[in-house]
């Protein structure tokens, strides 16, 4: 395996919520997350809505400052970067947002949207028009789209523009934050195929965030499963789909609908009871124990760390501790 491009260690992002005057409680959106993303790989992050996937992606890119922890880019802690190095990191690390309808400036033409980043960073792109047209072609758009405004495009086309904007910076690392969730199914496949093709072409390293397990499997070689601010399991996508170790992962994967009534009938579904806990008042010990069918007394006392139990397989569960 190649070297890690991004390494995250014990990353935390707490959002304060006011309780009384200056007294605060904290929403623990990301709470002690550690993992590596290797060069050239697309690392998938899955989990139910509100589990902290988007916050994790944005914190890694320093779009929001972390509360604690370390983020390493090529072995250097980006939290210790000076202004110049940070600017360079921001050029090298890009994001494609979830909602293409709000992530593009409606008052700018597509040309301005795409060229804005390289201009700000002083990147020599040769002829700007030629550069933008070449990028548009790479994402399946044409030259005549150059001076149009975002409202003249469909959702899928807008997301292609957002991807072209990210690629314009010649990035090494891109966070794809549910790039297809706002699009209809017919458009999703073409966008996903395009991202996959571009990843190969540009040798991109990425983090693909989604709550759609099939999409993450298609896009990623390794997958991390998140539950209420923590990564509970990491594994190769094929292995993870074959056998889930953490009870939450099992529950999540057993919810995948199978388009075969016979298989659906014979397959035993694991349904977890209740709702996820409040990220303000998390349960002591493992945060999944109130819903876990395999909860043991120790789960109520101590929170398990992510443990390596096999090559490329990590799980945070006392069953494997």
């Amino acid at each position: 395996m190649s070297k890690p491009l991004i390494s995250v260690r014990n990353l935390k992002k707490y959002f304060p919520v006011r309780r009384f005057l200056f007294a605060k409680d904290y929403v623990k959106a990301v709470d002690g997350v550690s993992f590596d993303i290797y060069e050239g790989e697309m690392f998938g992050v899955v989990g139910e809505s509100g589990c902290g996937k988007t916050t994790l992606g944005r914190t890694i890119l320093l779009l929001i400052p972390p509360t604690a922890g370390e983020i390493y880019y090529r072995g250097e802690n980006i939290l210790e970067y000076d202004k110049e190095k940070l600017k360079e990191f921001r050029r090298r690390a890009q994001i494609v947002f979830q909602d293409p309808y709000s992530s593009l400036d409606p008052r700018q033409t597509i040309f301005d949207i795409i060229i804005e980043g390289p201009r700000y960073h002083g990147i020599d792109v040769g002829d700007p028009e030629e550069f933008v047209v070449s990028l548009l072609r790479k994402v399946g758009l044409e030259e005549y789209h150059l001076y149009r405004y975002p409202h003249e495009f469909s959702g899928g086309q807008k997301q292609r523009i957002a991807i072209a904007r990210a690629l314009a910076m010649n990035p090494e690392f891109i966070v794809f934050d549910e790039p297809t969730s706002a699009l209809d199914v017919s458009v999703q496949a073409s966008i996903l195929n395009m991202i996959k093709q571009l990843q190969k072409e540009f040798n991109l390293t990425g983090m693909f965030i989604s709550h759609d397990l099939a999409v993450v499997k298609f896009m990623s070689r390794r997958i991390g499963v998140m539950y209420v601010g923590r990564i509970v399991e990491i594994g190769d996508s094929d292995e993870l789909f074959k056998e889930q170790l953490h009870p939450y992962t099992r529950a999540l994967f057993s919810a995948i609908p199978i388009p075969n009534p016979r298989v659906t009938r014979s397959k035993k579904k694991m349904i977890v009871k209740g709702e996820p806990p409040s990220p303000i008042h998390l349960p002591r010990g493992c945060r999944f124990y109130p819903r876990c069918p395999y909860a043991m007394p120790i789960c109520r006392t101590r929170e398990p760390d992510l443990m390596e139990i096999d090559k490329n397989r990590h799980v945070a569960c006392w069953l494997y501790g």
């Binding site: 007394p297 120790i298 006392t301």
Partner: protein, 396 residues
């Protein structure tokens, strides 16, 4: 604060809220009370009387915690209720007297040094806020609900001080005639914590009933762990909204080496679950004078190589190391390994014999303080003999 020590085959778990929490809460209450009294003597504004009352009220929650915390005091709770009634009665008396005084004197302004009064009330507001924050912060995280309970009365000081500042502040700009009217309103606001205190006094009358409910909750939870054979003694002392739990549990001799882990597994969830406990004293004793249940997965008379839906449960007298009965259990509707394990745990097994023990099963059984025992025998009869031999080695 946790202390565990071993005396023979007994382990005592002693987990209690640290003394400094009460000390600091009492210091804050005293500072607030003394400062507000001096401020009243210096400024003569009825607004400050309201603060004296709410400062006095801040003693009540700390006293409740202190009485239930102290081993001597909790055994005789009569002084607690007498003190609580006196504090509430004095507070109500002061408020009523001051209101009567204002009405009788037809709201004549007596305020002097309104600037100092405003400044003093601002200091009281800040003190109240810091008291709330510091008391909550120094309370250990496990007891965060008790910390909130201890800190909540200081919030009354904050909002009553904020309201009380209005009269003296207006008087500072020359309009002294409004001060008694604002004082009247502040005194009415200061009544707000009183119903809560009266509820606590009423709760005292139901303390036995509340304690019984908590005892049942704790007992039920303890007995959900198969290794705990009995809870011969359990006593919950309940005062107002707080409580203290003392209990003794009997566990089988088989897990004597894991008493510390078991203690930790008992301590944290009970404090966390009950929420209003200020501490627990638990005594864990091992006993050989008990029966243990051993599960052997078996199809007919043959021992299964792996965990199966059919199982023989053997009852063993641990003191004599004799089989005193067997029972066949069928879990035919359960297919998954984990489901079978969970079902066996619900049958309160102490030992599970398996020919192959993988790490996951071992961890799961360990987590429930069930001993995973690897056996080699093919038949149930031979397995029973092997089991007795293994048990003998285990306890000797």
């Amino acid at each position: 604060m946790l202390a565990i020590w071993v005396r023979g085959m007994e382990r005592r778990i002693f987990d209690i809220l640290p003394k400094k929490t009460f000390g600091i809460a009492l210091i804050f209450s005293s500072v607030l009370f003394i400062f507000s009294t001096l401020l009243y003597l210096f400024t003569r504004t009825p607004n400050v009387v309201a603060i004296i009352v709410v400062s006095l009220i801040t003693y009540t929650n700390t006293l409740t915690a202190l009485f239930v915390w102290s081993e001597k005091l909790r055994r005789n709770s009569l002084p607690y209720i007498v003190l609580l009634i006196i504090l509430v009665a004095v507070s109500v008396g002061m408020l009523v007297f001051e209101i009567y005084y204002l009405l009788a004197r037809k709201f004549v302004a007596e305020i002097v040094e309104p600037g100092y009064a405003t400044l003093g009330l601002l200091i009281l507001l800040i003190l109240g806020y810091f008291a709330n924050q510091i008391v909550e912060k120094i309370t250990p995280e496990l007891y965060w609900r008790v910390g909130r309970f201890l800190g909540e009365d200081y919030i009354n000081v904050v909002y009553v001080s904020a309201f009380a500042m209005i009269g003296p502040a207006i008087a500072f700009f020359g309009v002294t005639s409004l001060d008694p009217y604002m004082g009247f309103l502040t005194l009415l606001i200061a009544f707000m914590p009183i119903p809560g205190k009266i509820r606590n006094i009423r709760m005292y009358l139901r303390r036995e009933e509340i304690a019984k409910t908590m005892e049942e909750t704790i007992r039920k939870w303890l007995l959900s762990i198969p290794a705990i054979k009995d809870v011969p003694e359990i006593k919950v002392y309940s005062l107002g909204p707080l409580a203290f739990a003392e209990f003794r549990v009997m566990v089988s001799e088989l897990i004597r080496d894991r008493l510390e882990v078991l203690g930790d597994s008992i301590r944290v969830p009970i404090v966390d679950m009950i929420g209003n406990l200020v501490g627990i004293h638990a005594y864990l004793s091992t006993t050989r004078d008990t029966q243990v249940l051993v599960g052997i997965p078996a199809e007919d008379s043959k021992v299964s190589s792996r965990l199966a839906g059919k199982c023989v449960v053997v009852r063993v007298d641990l003191s004599k190391l004799e089989v005193i009965g067997t029972e066949r259990v069928e879990l035919s509707d359960l297919k998954e390994e984990d489901e079978i394990l969970r079902s066996l745990i619900s049958k309160r097994l102490d030992v599970l014999c398996l020919r192959e023990v993988d790490k996951k099963i071992k961890n799961y059984l360990d987590g429930w303080f069930i001993i995973p025992m690897q056996i080699e025998s093919d038949t149930v009869d031979a397995a029973q003999k092997e089991l007795i031999e293994n048990l003998r080695k285990l306890i000797e």
